[in-house]
Subunit: 91 residues, 2 copies
DNA sequence: ATTGGATATGCAGTATTTGCATATAGAAAC
DNA sequence: GTTTCTATATGCAAATACTGCATATCCAAT
């Protein structure tokens, strides 16, 4: 399912035009992103937690040539599924 | 930031009551979850992809006693941040 | 409808993460 | 205020993420 299809579904469930459904959805993702940018984590009960994970610099390898390369520190967004979410898929 | 605070923000940005903002938010998460339950992945451009990852059975360990235990296969929801999302945090 | 951009895949080898049981502390939900 | 949920901490084996890069596919926007 891609974003367009998701928006179409939401448009139906929420009784909104597709444009409004998309605006609403974007507002939500942007709000979450803003919090993450502020180095805050976002906990959503029953769904999961978004947090920014810091990754240290390390030595990697180009699998094509085998040569070693230096990989700088970076950050990425991690999503940790809530307990309820795991149970849905493992019962 | 927890769910309550998120809902409060959305209530403002979306010009909805808190109850409506929460209903809207829950509708979205439920829609995503339903897709995932159907073993579909959910791609959201500019944000990321939710997918169900199958994890193989393996040998674990009870950290309290140290004894080995067999862990069955399971499934969990994975979130893969989109490229745009990584760039936000690494520029 | 076309096109540019983003994503999935495969590869090799190492670094990192995961997840087990369980109690407690702290936070959040109702 | 009470109850439910989540983070943390522990040791350690195995799964997985990550790197460059080419290709194929797929999506989004023009």
């Amino acid at each position: 399912m891609n974003k367009k299809q998701l928006i179409a579904k939401l448009s139906g469930s929420l009784n909104l035009s597709k444009a409004d459904a998309e605006r609403t959805f974007d507002t939500i993702t942007n709000t979450i992103l803003d919090a993450l940018k502020g180095d805050d984590s976002v906990k959503i009960a029953g769904f999961g937690t978004y947090k920014v994970a810091k990754r240290k610099a390390r030595v990697g390898r180009n699998p094509r040539t085998g040569e070693q390369i230096q990989i700088g520190a970076s950050q990425k967004v991690k999503f940790l599924p809530a307990k309820a979410l795991k149970e849905v898929f493992n019962k």
